[in-house]
Amino acid sequence: MARPRVELDWEEGLFRGLLSLWHRWAPGHAEPGPGAVLLEDEKGALSVLAQLLSAEPVRLLPARDVGGIRGRDLLLPRCFDLAPDHETNRRFLIVRTAISAAMRRLSRDRPRMATGPATPLDSLRLAHDAIEWLTNELPAFAREHEAALGRALQVRPDPTSLRGRARLLEESRQRAMRGDRPWLDAGLREAIERAPVSGPESRGIPIWGELIETIDAEDVEHDTPEEGHRESDVESEVAAPALEALRRVELDPREKEEAVLVHNFEKVETLDRFDGNIRDTDGADELEAHIEALEEVDLGDLVRDDDDTHSILRADLSLGLDVPDVRSIGPDEHGIPYDEWDARKKRYRRNWCTVYPSAMRAANPSWGALAVARHGRLIRELRRRLEVHRTELRPRDRQFDGEDVDLAALVDAHGARCAGRGLDPRLYVRQERRRRSFATTVLLDVSLSTDAWVGDHRVLDIAREAILVLGEVTDQLGDQLQLLAFASHTRNRCRVWELKAWGDAWSLARDRLGAIEPQGYTRIGPAIRHAAAGLASTPADRRLLLLVSDGKPTDYDRYEGRYGIADIRQALRETERQGVHSHALAVDEVARAYLPPMFGPGSWDILTHPDRLPEVLTTVYGRLTSG
């Protein structure tokens, strides 16, 4: 990412130099040794292990320090460097993952009775219980843990080198590592609370990890500020470094109103605690100018605020909804260029449009559950209908065995016998099922025109319920389905959201489908070309593109009328050449002027009764995939 040059005072520059030096040399920030294991390399295998031991889908996230468990998230050290060699480090990291997963399991099954935040002693106790559980469950765990623990004890600091609270904590941790149970000591608990905090801290135990306070996602969601602030204009986005723990920070309202300018150099004496000052929480899009400052921000602090957001620092927090906007393109997004057909000049405008494929992370599970319940009967009925259609039998001649005699073969055999030649014993006709593989992409128009109403329903709601029914049916039949939604904002910003990738579980796509909202314009050509390119590279006997849209081309930069229709018609010709068959469905009358000339006879349906769309969409699908 290009970083803008910012004019700095010489003092500011000196401060930054000191800060980066500090990060390099301070304890806990040491450079990893040659045998270190990076979490990133092992994440896949470790998350399988963690899920097995916690018996639920957990997420592995990198931690800046020793990490621990935070609800369903297991935070593991980003870089594991306890032993000198790689192999041993990997073994130890497995032990750590197992302990974290077991801690998660135990903390879920028997929630902590105590109120108030978790203390380090609670962490030790939970880790101890987890180790006991693992030792019972996995015969070789004790041996592996013993080895890791021995090594971890060697590198603990001498408690006498620490002061105050840190010293008490270090003593407790070492006692626990030697098999003692310091959490039973009520006096110690109190002493730790009262002890003054000074000097270097006692780090958590890297092979155990800590119990980290969770911030209840529900709580955060329901805690939304007053109405009217919902619509936010996010203008830019950068990725944040990994984080470990979230603390809720109560912001003094006065502090917020007048974010005091603090000169960074004033902080030089407390360099080890520098976390980027308090920044103004409101503002226009100034992110570009603040990237350097943002890199210093301590992401562990969560601040609740009711002002509009104009810039986003994208961190792996996933507290709220997350739908990439059609108008803004993130700095690390890569667009795919597509040609567009210029009808007047009768030639392509090369690489004219840029399509940004984006994953859809937002989800609305309740919508899907309600819609499935509403259409349950229809889904069952359609599935049965398609299944019957699919399992039609077709005769295969000249079989060794079968339901009927193959007359032609019999005549041949008789002739052969009369001529004294050998006889082919394959004299039967056998009924067999036709089998073909299909790949289908559903392309859903989510432009603002779908915000219109037909009867009592919004166009987009009708369309997505229809897609939901189709998705349920294809999922039960085991067909391949991809689900894309598209909208555009000029030729440079055509966005295609992937609601369901080929391999995704349908249940995920259903949740995402519920979260999509109308936005932008309708530049259909690039979306069709993008979908067709994906389809063409998917192995299948037949490929099908279903467009759910009114078909009316509109975009900010005069993508309309004859020009737009000609481009879409050309895009459809290209898809046909790629072996992709396309079909369009619409519910509003607008479509009658557009779909027929573009799609040609028999390749479109416009429904006068929107309620029938779910049934018709799936029936069309069934018809097209049975031939």
Partner: protein
């Protein structure tokens, strides 16, 4: 074009010693009662939980020959009832497995019955009620089942959800029993009965498979079965190192995904 291969089940003699079977519940009593009362039996349960073994065991205990047909989605009525073969200039009738079992009063076991084509069900229906007859259409013959004939079908409910289900009209003709994965203690007994593995290794294998059955979040197609650890125990008994045995018999047979396999191996390493 590949010709459909003709099924070739034979009537094997009844073994003197019934194959080893450790009952998990009261399925043996149920089987025997169903046999005495001449009611067909439906066995449900995940793959590798011992359905076929139960049938073999009971057939031998009851002293009946056993005819097993593994059904697949091209299994047709013709395959089961019989056909004419062309030999030289003549045609010769050959009984299918069902016809043979009905004539000889054997126990007929249709494995994965739901997979078979719907015309098979029509053939089976008159055998499942008071008529106990088989009509061989092509031969135009009505065969009454010999005493001792019993129909047992198996079906795996979790498999291919929603696609292959038995029709209610078929299901209600059967007594039904569900076999499930055994408790760790029973599983250890089964493992030792099957392979004679020592208690220490046997316990480890049972602990491993018990953990693996919590696999649901990984989205594997099928739960790991007792069969998997029986195979692993065989390899260990044959002298293979334990981790290698688990790798070949369990990890590799559960998944093709390299990352999941690596995670499963890590778990094996925490057990052995």
């Amino acid at each position: 074009m590949t010709p459909a291969s003709p099924p070739t089940p034979g009537l094997a003699p009844v073994p003197k010693e019934p194959p080893w079977y450790r009952p998990v519940g009261n399925e043996c009593e149920l089987f025997e009662t169903a046999f005495r009362q001449q009611v067909p039996l439906l066995l449900k349960g995940p793959t590798g939980c011992g359905k076929s073994r139960l049938v073999e065991h009971m057939a031998a205990r009851l002293g009946r020959p056993l005819v097993t047909v593994a059904c697949h989605d091209e299994t047709s009525a013709v395959d089961l009832s019989g056909r004419y073969l062309v030999e030289g200039g003549d045609t010769v009738w050959q009984d299918g497995p069902v016809t043979r079992a009905v004539r000889s009063g054997a126990i007929l076991y249709l494995d994965e019955f739901a997979e078979a084509r719907s015309d098979v069900v029509v053939v089976i229906h008159p055998l499942t009620d008071h008529r106990r007859t088989l009509y061989v259409e092509r031969h135009d013959e009505q065969i009454e089942a010999a005493p001792g004939f019993m129909l047992v079908v198996s079906y795996n409910p979790g498999y291919q959800r929603g696609l292959k289900e038995l029709k209610p009209s078929t299901r209600q003709r059967f007594l039904a029993a569900t076999l499930s994965h055994p408790d760790p203690d029973v599983e250890l007994e089964i493992l030792q009965g099957e392979t004679g593995i020592d208690t220490a290794n046997g316990k480890k294998l049972c602990a491993l498979v018990h953990k693996l059955r919590e696999l649901e979040p990984l989205g594997l197609a099928e739960m790991p079965s007792t069969r998997l650890i029986v195979n692993a125990a065989r390899l260990i008994q044959a002298g293979l190192p334990a981790r290698m045995a688990c790798d070949a018999a369990i990890v590799e047979s559960l998944t093709d995904d390299a990352e999941i396999a690596s995670g499963l191996r890590d778990l094996v390493a925490l057990v052995f």
